[in-house]
Symmetry: C2
Subunit: 663 residues, 2 copies
């Protein structure tokens, strides 16, 4: 087993890049049908094998002529030529154009022998057939002489064979990425199979007994969580041009884990592991690498990502080796376990290597210049890859950049951040307004059009559904107003009373009924707040930032006044007053699972989840915009969606139009 | 049959957009497995169905404690707690933390009952077991008391259930494009199937007897060409988020064409046709639309694209209707036949409608601001969608934009242009340096790093293979120098003598042997130029812009001098002197097919194609850079690839290092 203390001797990010670059993940080139070639990269030059067009081709509808026969012709003095036949596209010419004759020809048709130019039909006239000739056998509708009202030069309106591209000419170079345009040129050359760079096969081995694949049943009481990294990294591998291969979970069966690592090395160009928070799992990986491979680097001086490993795994360690034509060794990178960390390390260090191996260019849109929306302090002595969100105010200035740091364990950070800013170890402080470069998580990341913060609410969810790419952080009413004041979001959604004085523009809102959620049938016969305070019931609360909590505390104050007591006397008597849960439905769910007798919540939630509800009042929910953002298009779209909230509130029990919105 | 003169009454581009927007191409939403969801767009909001994490979760390795037991503890005066067991990730806790006790816990594990905080392992010490207790049954290596050197508050280093995202909370809104990040969040929620917007099925019907699918045999004598539009447009449909369906060729069998159109309408959301240059094919389309559908628009005032059609096709016209669940009508757009025109009209009018129907956002990188590299004159009274190439000089100015107009029939324009500039009908002139917006053909278009023009040459092809994304236009030496002087390309490749005086920087080059290519065995016993002039042999030449032609003409001048004749006397005696073919191999290929007895060419070509060669001399091939471009990175890379041309010339018969490059 390796001496794990070596982690303290962290490699620089440059050394990590160099270690990964030293690995060979390049697959063999392969041949794919043209229809599957979009987005692939040519492995070799394609020269034209044929002339395009393959024949001298009329490029106009008209008459094929000998140019010399038209010399001197003009509107006043047309040349007259005998019509000897016609040639259509896709047919071999059955006529020869002798001096003094012409043939009707359509665009794309083969030039008949003898002809060297085309006169466009608009510069010609059909002359009547010589009807007095008794021997004439022609169809009466067919003219047999054509007046040519212009002179043409040899080659006029003719695309000569090979003029587009000639046999032997270089058509596309190696390394060309195939877009519809290149596919068009290859089609013209008759190419239906293309030699392209192979896709590196990337095996993903996820370790950790707590991980369950999405779609399978989860037992939270055993600490099980869904495996986020395998699917996220697989999607990232695909995006970078690789072919992900997901291996089954090894759990904490170390023999199985070892077997899987060896099989993955035999079958893949690169093996990634991630997901284990267990020290023993890391030890297994160390042992496999040391027994059959080489560890190049462990631990990189970036945050997150300290536990990154880079190495090589010898092939031939599994039965799969017999079936695989891969020999030598596979590359190996161990990613951190937390999803944002894993994705950040993947896209910073691993994705470029996969693209390189696949011959894919670095994406053009992977970085954005922005300005810090807030100041941010650092100073940990290692490079920080700070997850950030973006908000483009469309004000001719760079987009706002704000740090998103909910702890690396949060999967919601994945969608609340748009990319990372690499902060140098020497940087101690990033000023508000400072210019930074954001490395987007992927080139198709679209930052939100609108950033909202505040209370969570079911009508708000519907409202958000009507907007184009909003981002909403349900931080609660109080925290929402604080953030609005600090200048990052566009709007804050505030429920209930508030003591924060923040200048805002009210965009509208609604009223919702709040109170106590109890089990169906109300077994404890709860009739009001008094029961929660006075009786031995298990209560479940919302956090102090929530508007529901603020209304509850006001009601407790009123009850305390009534009883000439203090609020704290009442709250101390309430079992579970300090037990706060995250979202508007969470207390009701605790009631349903029997973990609580009474929960703070909404009539809407109680009715929807088939609970009973004891009303304690109504509270307004108001969407409040930062004054300097009120004119933004996205904010105006939000305001207009609020103009008639009736539709938003339809079917939501306990919801009504806020008096502020009455006409 | 429709009155085709209506084409003269062209619709505006805005009307064409409106007509296409009025069509309904939206498919039904569908459900796809999470692993296939990358790049798709959510059809509905996804709320969290579970809490993430699903339990109170340790976020550090350490000891689970009751926070109250640590109050007052510090380095000087640690709290001592009894160790009652341990909890690992992925296992249900088997212990309860009573007052005065603690449990070892690993990151990700379930908090045991009683504990409300975690002390990180770094702030603890293991205390020796009380070895003097004779009843102690513990493993001797297991400590049974832990010193806690810090106070923690309830919740410290614990991620509470639902803290990441709680059941009932809005996770992702409708219209969200799924990147690896969103796939990560969906995984965390255990979602393994995702409701996404459907991909519109787009049927591609290509008409025209002359079209042959790539990979099949081509008969140029019948005027056959490969079908470029079907594959190009199919790739474009895929890129826009649609599902292309290629229908078999109808040829010019009009009944079959009608049957195919009806079947495509029954099976698809949108039917595209293109490719026919035949008026009768268009008439069939008109008839089908008029009998069973509606023609909304024919002819748009854009160049190219005049013959564009927009309409609707009623469903139920084919046997396929029985198997299809589609009813109502399908959208129909008829594209022009020439590839660049078809792709331009597709991306301008059709791709946005497909993206809209697929719920896909407009690509962020589909336009580039550039400056005209040359002046360009217009004035045709309709909007011009001018194909242009881009060259980014990386000089802090916008990329250069130059028109690419080889005639819309040229498929090479597909790869020589990067996009189009929409020139307003009222614009008569675009000035050199004028700022224009280029609509890229697709968001993944990468303009070239280097633009070269000039002679075509096999060693040059190898040189180009070593550069990253070069673009080379084989316009010949003379035209190449002219273009270099006009300031668009970076380099011109010049073969043989030249009379153009253009100031350039020579980057290096080589020497190639040129002469006459004759059939194997030299059946006509050609020994030199005299034979071509004096005997009844069919010669095939290169165009006047070619360096080979210039060397030939110099040799003819010398022969004329010798004979005291004029060059024109000699050239008039040479059958085929005026017959010029496109590329360096083309004359040799004419000799091989028997269409000529003698061709102008290179020893390299003759030997490679197993012909015989009569040498007439050597000519230098020199890569010449525009002086102001000589310092560009891409030009420097080219110069460095030329430093040692030996490797470039290896195995090329008749090639040698140019004296200019000798040390």
């Amino acid at each position: 087993m390796s001496d794990r203390k070596e982690f303290r001797d962290l490699a620089t990010p440059e050394a990590a890049h160099a270690a990964i670059e030293s690995l060979d993940l390049s697959p063999e080139p392969e041949t794919v049908p043209l229809e599957d070639a979009r987005g692939r990269v040519l492995a070799e030059r394609i020269d034209a094998a044929i002339d395009v067009p393959g024949f001298d081709r009329a490029s106009m509808d008209g008459y094929a002529v000998r140019a010399r026969d038209t010399f001197g012709a003009d509107e006043a003095d047309p040349a007259e030529l005998d019509l000897v036949g016609s040639v259509h596209a896709g047919a071999a010419p059955a006529v020869t154009v002798a001096p003094g004759t012409c043939a009707e020809i359509s665009t794309g048709a083969v030039m008949p022998e003898g002809a060297d130019a085309v006169v466009m039909v608009e510069r010609t006239d059909e002359l009547d057939a010589e009807r007095d000739d008794p021997d004439a056998e022609e169809d009466e509708d067919e003219p047999d002489r054509i007046a040519i009202r212009t002179a043409v030069a040899p080659g006029d309106h003719v695309m000569s064979a090979g003029a587009d591209i000639a046999a032997g000419a270089r058509a596309l170079g190696p390394g060309t990425r195939l877009t519809p345009r290149e596919i068009g040129l290859l089609s013209a050359l008759g190419v239906d199979e293309v030699p392209v760079e192979g896709k590196p096969r990337v095996g993903i081995v996820s370790t950790g007994d707590e991980l369950v694949r999405p779609g399978e049943a989860l037992d939270p009481s055993r600490g099980e969580i869904y495996d986020v990294n395998s699917t996220t990294i697989a999607a990232g591998v695909e995006e970078a041009g690789g072919e992900p291969v997901l291996y089954p979970h090894a759990g904490d069966d170390y023999e199985e884990m070892e077997r899987l690592l060896r099989r993955a090395a035999d079958e893949c160009d690169l093996v990634l592991s991630s997901g284990s928070t267990s020290a023993s799992a890391v030890d297994v990986i160390y042992r496999v690498i040391e027994e059959r491979g080489e560890l190049l680097l462990h631990g990189v001086a970036v945050k997150p990502g300290k536990p990154m490993l880079v190495g090589r795994l010898d092939r031939g360690g599994s039965d799969a080796a017999l079936e695989s034509d891969r020999t030598g060794e596979s590359a190996y990178v161990g990613l951190p376990g937390y999803p944002v960390s894993a994705l950040t390390i993947f896209r910073t260090f691993v994705a470029p290597a996969i693209r390189e191996a696949a011959g894919q260019p670095e994406p053009a849109t992977a970085t954005v210049e922005g300005r810090m929306a807030v100041g941010e302090r650092y100073g940990e002595g290692r490079m920080r890859l700070m997850p950030v969100g973006l908000l483009d105010l469309n004000d001719d200035d760079r987009p706002l950049v704000y740090p998103v740091d909910k702890g690396s364990g949060a999967t919601t950070s994945l969608v609340e951040a748009d990319g990372v800013v690499a902060v140098d170890p020497d940087t101690e402080y990033l000023d508000r307004g400072e210019r930074v470069t954001v490395q987007l998580f992927s080139p198709d990341v679209r930052p939100p059009t609108l950033l909202g913060v505040g209370e969570d609410d079911p009508a708000l969810n519907r409202l958000l559904d009507r907007l184009e790419r909003p981002r909403y952080l349900p931080v609660g009413s109080r925290e929402g107003l604080r953030r609005l004041r600090d200048g990052v979001p566009d709007v804050a959604v505030v429920a209930g009373p508030t003591d924060r004085e923040v200048e805002t523009v009210d965009l509208g809102g609604w009223t919702r009924e709040w109170g106590l959620v109890v089990p169906a049938g109300n077994p404890a016969d709860v009739t009001g707040l008094g029961a929660v305070v006075d009786r031995d019931l298990r209560f479940v609360n919302r956090p102090t930032d929530s508007g529901l909590r603020r209304s509850l505390d006001d009601a407790l104050d009123a009850l305390a006044d009534e009883r000439s007591a203090s609020r704290s006397e009442l709250t101390e008597a309430t079992a579970g007053y300090e037990l706060t849960v995250r979202a508007f439905e969470s207390p009701a769910r605790k009631v349903i699972t029997g973990d609580a007798d009474v929960g703070l919540g909404l009539r809407e939630t109680a009715e929807r989840l088939d609970c009973e509800f004891v009303s304690l009042g109504e509270q307004s929910v108001v969407v409040r915009a930062a004054p300097e953002r009120a004119d933004r298009d996205a904010v105006a779209a939000l305001a207009s969606a609020l103009d008639d909230p009736a539709d938003l509130l339809d079917g939501l029990a306990g919801y009504s139009r806020n008096s502020r919105n009455e006409p």
